[in-house]
Point group: C2
Chain length 295, copies 2
C-alpha cells in the first residue's frame, strides 16, 4: 500500500499534540547568498532537534494498544534513536535502542535520559542487525525503521505539509536525501511542487552524518514516482553552506541540513520561491570567541 497525501494529513493530526509546529524563517542576506527567495522550514528547532521526531511519533502512535504494549525498537546511532525514545515516552511504552559502541557521549546521554534501554554493539551493519534481532526476540518489541516504513514516511511528510500551508506558490522544495524518508514524505505532501533532493557526493564518508545511508526500494520507488530531481553537493560546499548559514542567517544547522542550502545555491534557482527543509540542528556548538573590546 503506497503512502498518499491523505496519510500525511492523518499523520499531521495524529502527531499534532506532541510535535512542534516549527516556524518558517526568512533571511534577506541568505536570499542574496542563495540567489532565490527562500523559506526555511526550521526543523532544527523541532523537539529533539530534528524532523525525525515526526516520523517516529507517527509510527508509535499508529500502533495498536496490544502492539504498543510490547514496546518499540531500532538500531541507530543518530537522531532516530532519540526520536524513537522520545515518541515511546510520550505514549508511555518501552523503547529499545541498539547503538554502536562508538556513539558519542552526547547522543548516549540524550537517549538514556529519555528512558530508552540501550544495547551496545560493534560498529558494523551486520553487528547492529544481529543485536537488534536479539532484542526483538527477547522483548517482542515492534521494529520501527528510521526511514523504510510507511508510517515514518508519512510522519516525515508533515514538515512539508506545514511548509506549503504557510507559504503560497512555492516553486520548489529542497530537502536532504539519505535514506530518503524525508524526501519521500515531502514529495507526497507537496504534489504540485518541484522537489530537489540534496545528496552528498560520497555518502560513506560525508561530514553530513545523518545522510550516511542509501535509499531503500520503497523510498527509491516513491522518489521516482514523484519525479524528484537530485543535486549532489561536494564536501567543501556542505561545509561552506553550514558556515554561511550560521554566519549570515544565524541558524544553527547541522551539516546534514546545510547540504540543502548548498544544493539550492548549486541548482540555479534564480528568482524562484524555494522552500528549504532545515532538517536538523544536532551539532555541538563550540564556544564562540569571547570579544572583550575596550569601549
Amino acid at each position: 500500500m503506497a503512502v498518499e497525501l491523505a496519510d500525511v494529513e492523518r499523520a499531521a493530526v495524529r502527531i499534532a499534540p506532541f510535535v512542534d509546529h516549527t516556524p518558517v524563517l526568512r533571511s534577506r542576506v541568505l536570499d542574496a547568498w542563495l540567489g532565490a527567495e527562500c523559506f526555511v522550514k526550521a526543523e532544527h528547532l523541532q523537539r529533539g532537534g530534528a524532523f525525525k521526531f515526526r516520523g517516529a511519533t507517527n509510527a508509535v502512535l499508529s500502533l495498536s494498544d496490544e502492539d504498543a504494549r510490547r514496546g518499540v525498537a531500532a538500531h541507530s546511532s543518530g537522531n532516530h534513536a532519540a526520536a524513537l525514545a522520545r515518541a515511546a515516552r510520550a505514549r508511555g511504552i518501552p523503547a529499545y535502542v541498539v547503538m554502536p559502541k562508538a556513539t558519542t557521549a552526547r547522543k548516549r546521554t540524550a537517549v538514556e535520559r529519555l528512558g530508552a534501554e540501550i544495547t551496545w554493539c560493534d560498529d558494523s551493519l551486520d553487528a547492529r542487525r544481529e543485536a537488534l534481532q536479539g532484542v526483538l526476540t527477547r522483548t517482542g518489541a515492534v521494529e520501527i525503521h528510521p526511514f523504510d516504513d510507511e508510517r515514518v514516511i508519512a510522519g516525515a511528510g508533515t514538515a512539508a505539509l506545514e511548509l506549503v500551508a504557510a507559504v503560497a506558490r512555492l516553486d520548489v522544495i529542497v530537502v536532504p536525501v539519505g535514506g530518503g524518508g524525508l524526501c519521500s514524505g515531502t514529495s507526497i505532501a507537496a504534489p504540485g511542487c518541484r522537489i530537489i533532493g540534496a545528496a552528498p557526493v560520497d555518502r560513506r564518508a560525508t561530514v553530513a552524518d545523518g545522510l550516511r545511508t542509501g535509499c531503500s526500494e520503497r523510498t527509491s520507488a516513491i522518489l521516482r514516482a514523484h519525479d524528484v530531481e537530485f543535486v549532489t553537493v561536494a564536501e567543501s560546499e556542505i561545509e561552506d553552506a553550514r558556515c554561511s548559514v550560521w554566519e549570515l542567517a544565524r541558524l544553527m544547522v547541522e551539516p546534514s541540513a546545510a547540504i540543502a542550502f548548498g544544493a539550492t545555491r548549486d541548482a540555479g534557482l534564480a528568482g524562484a520561491r524555494v522552500g528549504i527543509i532545515s532538517s536538523g540542528g544536532n551539532v555541538a556548538p563550540r564556544e564562540p570567541r569571547v570579544r572583550r573590546l575596550s569601549l
Copy 2:
C-alpha cells in the same frame, strides 16, 4: 515630549517596509531549563542581527528631507554603527560613523560594505565624542544617538509591540539593559505588562559587549515611570545562559542577548508566561566539532 505608545505604533508603520517582522520562537527544553513558559522574540534574526536596526530606521525615516540630505552620524563600535549605515542606505543618504581603532575587522567590514564613511579615533569616550563633533561640523550631518533619542526608543519598542500582538496574556517581558533604549521602548510598548531589565553586574567589564554603557537621564526616567524592575546577572551566568540557549534551543544569541535568559532563570518566574527579547546574534560562531562517526 515623552515617548508614548502611539509613537511606537507610528514607528511600526513607518519602518515596516524595511525591518523584518521577526518570529516568536518556542522551545520546550528551554522552558524546562528556565522554569517558565517562554516566548522568544528572535531579534537576533533581525536584519543586521540586532534590534538596533529598528531604532536607527525609525530615526532616519523621521527626518525631514532637508535634514536627511545632510546625512546621519554616530560614534559606535557596535551594532548601532551598522544599523545606522543600513538605515541610511535604505533612505539613500550618507552615514558617517566614528569608530575606535580597536573595532574588530568583522564589524569594520560590515559598516564599510553598507557604504558608511568611517572616521577612526582612539578608544576613550572623549576621543570618540571629539571625533564625532568634528564630523558633525564638517558635514552638517544629524547625530543619531544609539539610545538617548526618542525616535530610537520608539523604534526599539516595535519589537515588544510585535511580541504582545503575537502572544496573548504575557505576564512579564525580560529585556537586556545597557543604555536603556530597548528597555524603555519595551516598557512603553507593553504598558500592561511587568517589565524586567537584565543588566550585568559590572557593565564596564562585562562579556555582554552591547551593554557596556549606562542609562541616560531620558531612559532612566522612562524606566522609573514604568516601574521597570532590574535583575543583575553575574558574568558566569551570562556565559552559562549563552551556552544553554545555543545547546538547548539552538538559538545563536550573543552574550548581550543571553543575559535576558539568565535573568529569567534568576527571577523566580515559575509558571509565568514570559516574553524574552533576544536582542542580538552578532557573535562569530566558531567551527563546530566535526563528528565523523563510523556507522
